[in-house]
Amino acid sequence: MTTKVLMKGSEAIAEAAILSGCRYFFGYPITPQNEIPEYLAKHLPKVGGTFLQAESEISAIYMVLGGAAAGARVMTSSSSPGISLKQEGISYMAGAETPCVIVNIMRGGPGLGAIQGAQPDYWQATRGGGHGDYRLLVLAPATVQEAVDLTYQAFDLADKYRNPVMILGDGILAQIMEPVELPEANNQLPDKAWAVGKNENRPRNIVSSSYPKVDELEKVSIRLHERYAQIKKNEVRWDSYLTDDAEYVIASYGSAARIAKAAIKMARAEGIKVGLIRPISVWPFPTEPFQNIVPQTKFFLSFEMCTGQMIDDVRLAIGNERPVYHYGRLGGVIPLPEELLAKIKELVKEAK
């Protein structure tokens, strides 16, 4: 029998990072994710690791770059405005092919916005975020258990593809407490022959995103693009709920998907055949499950805690085959299942 422990989402993410072999964390305080740095400040020194609070998010991400270039498993975490500040460094890390894990606990925006959980940074996360033609592997957990599992895997994925991986959560996920089963500590970290450090028996290593010769930079861009194609091929993750006979399909990720499930149960009780497709990897986006379900589906409804961003990816997946609608609340207002149910019923009525 496995033992479960009750943990807050943010602390569970932090513990999963330690179990995955992360020994360096550089960050800067911002609500609603402060329990991640606080947990690591307490627990990293116990396993011989280093927690360092930087003077800014910008500095933190460049400490991450340095630690990653030195071959370590490194993480930073922040929330929407802080992630905006990190974008320069994230772009440099994508260009320098340095693996790391970035946790983004989204809150309402734009600007300073509000500290409550929201999902307004899907575009920023899935389109690269910083400058340049790059991608992050972006994983969006909906439960504390999934946050643990995905954070644990994120370090392996970052090392495998030599690319930053983002855990895209929100204030709800970070603050909620749920029982979780923790994975075993990973003691087998990969060798990184490309990293800087002691270099007695090898030629010098250079970790850089600087390629002043255009033909050289084009080759690098092609290599990165090919790597992204591999990620698209290997790392698509998604889940579904009551889609077998669904006539209407909700697209939703993260905390919003949990609200969607509750609304679906209520709709089913009223005989409305509605189901859920929940992208877990939001980049790469799971296009196939959406394409495969088109024949039985009358419309899609993208349910997000923003004005509608993932809706673009649903439309890119299915084209003009079916209508794609959006429902969501903004600025950190948490939508109720009843509201979503009302929207579903309104759209079902219109569709008939």
């Binding site: 460049y62 400490m63 340095g66 270039a69 800087v196 450090g197 002691k198």
Partner: protein
């Protein structure tokens, strides 16, 4: 006859991209010679910044991480925390360190980060074509201060090394210049001292090196050196700013 000098193995034997009369080449060589003489190339990691010296990774024959504009001290922090046994130094110009990178450099000093900073100050942005820097002297012409730097409009030159020396985490700060064999030798000694302090685990140290930019100053190399000594040096006096002995 004994061989007294040779091309250091810690430099790559390729032509440098620097302009004629630029002092980066000399400073690169000093850094490389010190590392070779200390026999620590196998555990040295340089951090390149952004500016004329951003391609120093092409010239240094040891590990280098290239950082972004102003962020080299943060990147150095990440490397040093993972590899405390390594010699980690940043190589930064005044546009990089004294403008966009002020927060990163000050807080590296505040933390007493065990890194060395080679700070090359010529009072102007070189790489981007001669714009005004925070270090540009009053009335000095630059492409973005075409009538001379107006202190009413842009304030006064920033004295970074003095500011860094004020921090308790900074164990050694010295300003030198590249103008003659004697000052080149003094600069080399300062770099060596900084590296030795780091290897001894002492703390943050900075060597500011006054240099020239004949291209963007619009002067001949020799004239540039004279101008540097008569103008830049009066605002940024060379000498020891904070010695290790002062550290409690």
């Amino acid at each position: 006859m004994d061989k007294v000098s040779s091309f250091p193995k810690t430099l790559v034997d390729v032509p440098m991209h620097y302009c004629p009369g630029c002092t980066h080449g000399i400073i690169h060589r000093l850094v490389a010679e010190v590392i070779e003489e200390m026999e620590i190339a196998f555990k040295t990691v340089g951090i390149a910044s952004v500016g004329c010296s951003c391609f120093c990774y092409d010239y240094f024959n040891f590990d280098v991480v290239a950082s972004a504009h102003g962020r080299a001290p943060a990147t150095a922090t990440g490397v040093k925390r993972v590899h405390p046994e390594c010699l980690v130094f940043t190589y930064q110009g005044d546009g990089d360190l004294a403008a966009i990178g002020t927060a990163e450099i000050i807080h590296a000093a505040v933390r007493g980060e065990k890194i060395s900073v080679i700070f090359v100050n010529n009072g102007i942005y070189g790489m981007t074509g001669g714009q005004m820097a925070p270090t540009t002297l009053p009335e000095m012409k630059a492409t973005t201060s075409p009538y001379g730097r107006s202190t009413a409009l842009t304030g006064y030159p920033i004295k970074m090394t003095e500011m860094l020396a004020l921090q308790d985490g900074c164990v050694y700060a010295e300003r030198t210049k590249i103008s003659s064999v004697a000052t080149i030798n003094k600069t080399k000694k300062a770099i060596r001292k900084s590296f030795e302090l780091q290897i001894a685990g002492k703390g943050f140290s900075v060597v500011e090196i006054l240099s020239t930019c004949p291209t963007n100053w619009g002067m001949e190399p020799l004239e540039s050196i004279k101008w540097m000594e008569e103008n830049l040096e009066t605002y940024y006096p060379v000498g020891l700013i904070k010695d290790e002995k002062e550290v409690k």
